[in-house]
């Protein structure tokens, strides 16, 4: 039986939702599933992973692991794989996960499939290809299998289980401690990030002018979601690149995606088409977005959105 280890990334005292999603998925594969939390003073958050299907949670708790640097994490994962016999290591997509997974792949001479959206019990991954127009089955030829899943690929589902928390040995290679974190910069952000949000309100050129992004922001706030933008408006400097969804931006799959004044060019579509419910508000009835929206509203968003925001607020309060 496969032994699966899931890398549990954490921010501000909680395990990232994406990691828990991957853990929940792993728990359905009929394998022996463990999670691993790496950092300093992270013991407190480890047990919570049991609720998402981990039978064991390894904790590597060490002052040298405070900074989110990849190499020390590779050391921890590599020794767990070697000593405990894990044959599969899974990651949820993030900048850190990409660094760690790549380092681990090199260290263990293991194959890494990235950007996967699914994995079956027999060890076949599903990977979108040709700009998400088809899915291809991918596998591994190496003994140890590594995979990074796309953000939002799986929901974090609570199973009510508990995990045994164990200490993972922390023995760092000389070269792993050479890098030092000088500074960590955080983009200022209100509410959830677009990768994590269940609800995304996205604005396009149809908003008319940069100031009108306030409409999207207010609706997002009312819904408890995040704001995203199309390439056209990011190009025009209306909104930061970090919020760009699409072929050359981020790929998201929230439960609800509200598209305001977005025509639905294929470059945008490939970044959000796997959203559960897509609602489009656009005054052009021929806009391509209506071909794949679940609910389309033809009308002036400047009239509709403020009223919608009001209604959402009233319903929620």
């Amino acid at each position: 039986m496969a032994k699966v280890l899931v890398f549990l990334e954490h921010h501000e005292g909680a395990i990232a939702k994406g990691s828990l999603g991957v853990l929940s998925k792993a728990a359905t594969l009929g394998a022996e599933v463990a999670g691993v939390v790496i950092g300093s003073e992270v013991r407190g958050i480890a047990a919570s992973a049991g609720d998402y299907g981990a039978a064991t949670v390894w904790v590597a708790d060490d002052g040298r692991l405070t900074a989110p640097l990849p190499q020390p994490r590779v050391d921890v994962l590599a020794s767990l794989v070697r000593d405990e016999g894990y044959d599969t290591v899974l990651f949820a997509q993030s900048v850190l996960a990409a660094d760690v997974a790549a380092g681990l792949a090199a260290r263990l001479d293991a194959g890494l499939n990235w950007g996967l959206v699914d994995l079956t019990a027999d060890g076949t991954g599903k990977s979108p290809a040709l700009s998400d127009t088809v899915y291809v089955d991918v596998g591994w030829t190496s003994a140890v299998k590594l995979a990074i899943f796309r953000s939002g690929a799986f929901d974090a589902t609570s199973s009510g289980g508990t995990a045994e928390v164990k200490d993972a040995p922390v023995s760092l290679e000389d070269f792993s401690t050479l890098a030092e974190m000088v500074e960590q910069a955080h983009a200022e952000q209100h509410g959830p990030s677009i990768e994590d949000a269940d609800v995304i309100v996205a604005g396009g050129r149809g908003l008319g002018e940069p100031e009108k992004f306030a409409l999207a922001e207010e609706l997002a706030q009312a819904l408890g979601g995040a704001v995203a933008a199309t390439r056209a408006v990011v190009d025009a400097g209306w909104y930061p690149y970090s919020a760009q969804v699409g072929q050359t931006g981020k790929t998201v799959s929230p439960k609800l995606y509200v598209a305001l004044g977005i025509s639905g060019a294929i470059q945008h579509k490939v970044g959000m088409q796997s959203s559960n419910v897509i609602v489009a508000i656009n005054k052009d009835p021929n806009a391509p977005i209506f071909e794949f929206a679940d609910l389309g509203v033809v009308g002036d968003l400047h009239e509709i959105v403020p009223k919608l925001t009001e209604l959402v607020r009233a319903r929620r309060s």
Binding site: R231, V234, D235, Q244, T248, G249, A265, I266, Q267, P288
Partner: protein, 564 residues
């Protein structure tokens, strides 16, 4: 008001692309021979150099660890290659003489039947195939696929191919070309260094062979710097093509003339279409129009969409599906626009970059391959004992002048220009030129810069079909079908004036098949702002012909063609 694109020159000078080396000597990357561009010319040169190295191992040893390096700005060899293509095998036969047969190359077979059609809006009239266009014994290919094949051959012949690497500056010191500087990677929109910033490097070589293809960035700068330009300016055409999966095989190669282009002299709409079978289940269809056209609303992309609505062509595509799209310019100046010399100290120029294209025959790939092969032989001569580099490189010019390229191009030297006098006069003159093998009319007809023609507007765009997403497509979804996923937050690589008369802004917006230009707000003084979406760019080069200047974006950007 009379508007000419040439009155609004781009903020760019050839000096921007020519610099002395900047890296300290011990940090420069030294290679034997450096080739810029993994297309048919550059790869033929790399393959020929590999053959010579195999034949002369002791000489080859003097070339160092990297005897031959090929820089390619695309994601992979073939990513930026696009052509019809019906290939005359002559160049390949000479390159692979005694080593490979034509049936070992990735062709879609030899041309069987062929038709030339004169189109009106509803009818198609078959006309006799003009003698220059006969394709007997030629092969159908995807140039992108052929390029990938040649790249593998070049690598097994010992060349090092460096994809995702743009050649940004030609390194010139003391009047001699020393190599090139590659482009930086990981810069933000305002040129700032991002987290993944990697500076470019100076790569130096014994001889640098530029094989950049149409609108070559360094080739253009080198022609100016070394005073090599012809008295006749180069002119270009823009080709836009699609590859379709089709329900039923097409049994012949088809070329069309006439509709949707207009015959009137003042429109200067010279061009036509091609429809080629690619095996049993694919067809490629493309439209080519000379960039000397005058109408601000002319859009080759939309003309291709219009062409596909013709009953004769719609029938071929019915039940099929578009799988790829792309665009590229073609140098059309021919013989009269060839450079005065094809070499400079340390430098050889080849292929489409110097305009080795036979417009009446619709061919240039075999010239690119032959010129690359000849460039390799001249470069190799610099290694021979007692050779002077100057004499060795000058032998390239002699070899070109004695080659079939020269004979072919000379014969048809005035044909393209004749079509500046309208379709019918041009057609009649072309017939006379063919009959006399180029002796009549004597002399050379001049070319005029594409950007110099006065613009006019005639509501041309009204006839373009509204895209239905099945047979006809808009520009943005077409950019997607080119595989382009260029990083958006990189510096703008297109040099144009951004405050221009409305006519000019509209001409650019219609001209560009990739929707890079948009007409912005009016300034109140008759001019408008031009807005740019540079990451849409498929690097076709039309802007350089029509008043702007394309420079290479970060390596790895642009389309990722596989079937074009």
């Amino acid at each position: 008001m009379t508007v000419r694109a040439s009155d609004y020159p781009p903020p760019w000078s050839p000096g921007d692309a020519i610099q002395p080396p900047s890296d300290p000597v011990d940090e420069r990357i030294e290679v034997g021979f450096l080739i810029v561009g993994a297309g048919p010319a550059g790869l033929a040169a790399a393959i020929r150099l590999g053959q010579l190295a195999e034949d002369h191992p002791e000489t080859a040893e003097r070339l160092g660890d990297v005897p031959v390096a090929v820089l390619e700005k695309g994601k992979a060899p073939g990513s930026h290659l696009l052509s019809g293509a019906v290939v005359n095998p002559r160049g390949l036969q000479r390159l692979f003489a005694g080593r490979k047969r034509m049936d070992e190359l990735p062709f879609y077979g030899a041309v069987g039947a062929e038709s030339v059609l004169f189109l009106t809006k509803r009818k198609a009239l078959r006309i006799p195939t003009p003698p220059t266009m006969v394709n007997d014994r030629n092969y159908i290919a995807s140039l992108s696929q052929l390029g990938r094949f040649l790249a593998e051959e070049a690598e097994s012949a010992g060349a090092t191919i460096l994809p995702e690497t743009s050649a940004e500056q030609l390194l010139v010191d003391g009047g001699r070309v020393l190599g090139v500087r590659t482009g930086d990677r990981g810069r933000g929109r305002d040129g700032e260094q991002l987290g993944n910033f990697e500076p470019g490097s100076d790569i130096t070589a014994r001889v640098t062979i530029l094989a950049e293809g149409t609108q070559g960035h360094l080739t253009g700068a080198a022609l100016d710097h070394f005073g090599l330009r012809s008295d006749n300016p180069q002119v270009w055409a823009l080709g836009v093509k699609e590859v379709w999966k089709v329900a039923k095989p097409l049994d012949r190669v088809i070329h069309t003339m006439g509709w949707p282009l207009r015959p009137g002299r003042r429109f200067r709409e010279f061009g036509g279409s091609f429809i080629y079978p690619m095996g049993e289940d694919m067809v490629t269809v493309g439209m080519v129009v000379g960039l000397d056209y005058t109408d601000t609303e002319l859009s080759v992309h939309d003309l291709l969409q219009e062409l596909k609505t013709h009953p004769r062509i719609r029938k071929i595509l019915e039940g099929g599906e578009r799988v790829q799209w792309g665009a590229k310019t073609i140098p059309e100046g021919g013989f009269v626009a060839l450079p005065k010399r094809f070499h400079a100290p340390g430098l050889l120029l080849s292929g489409d970059g110097v305009g080795l294209v036979n417009v009446p025959a619709l061919k240039g790939i075999h010239y690119a391959i032959e010129s690359g092969r000849l460039a390799a032989e001249a470069a190799w001569k610099t290694l021979e004992r007692g050779a002077s580099a100057r004499t060795a490189l000058a032998s390239y010019d002699e070899a070109l002048r004695e080659s079939f390229i020269w004979r072919d191009l000379r014969e048809v030297r005035n044909m393209r220009q004749a079509f500046g006098r309208g379709f019918y006069v041009g057609g009649a003159l072309a017939g006379a030129m063919t009959a006399t093998k180029g002796k009549f009319p004597p002399g050379n007809a001049r070319t005029e810069r594409d950007a110099e023609h006065k613009l006019l507007s005639t509501d041309r765009a009204k006839s373009y079909p509204v895209p239905d997403g099945k047979l006809t497509f808009d520009k943005l979804s077409s950019v997607f079908a080119s595989g382009n996923r260029t990083r958006d937050d990189q510096p703008n690589h297109i040099r144009i004036q951004t405050k221009v008369p409305r006519e000019l802004a509209e001409m650019w917006a219609h001209m560009c098949p990739a929707q890079v230009y948009e007409v912005g707000e009016a300034d109140g003084d008759g001019t408008v702002q031009v807005k740019l979406a540079p990451s849409n760019c498929v690097q076709c080069g039309a802007i350089t012909a029509k008043g702007g200047r394309l420079t290479p974006p970060e390596g790895g950007s642009g389309p990722e063609y596989t079937l074009t």
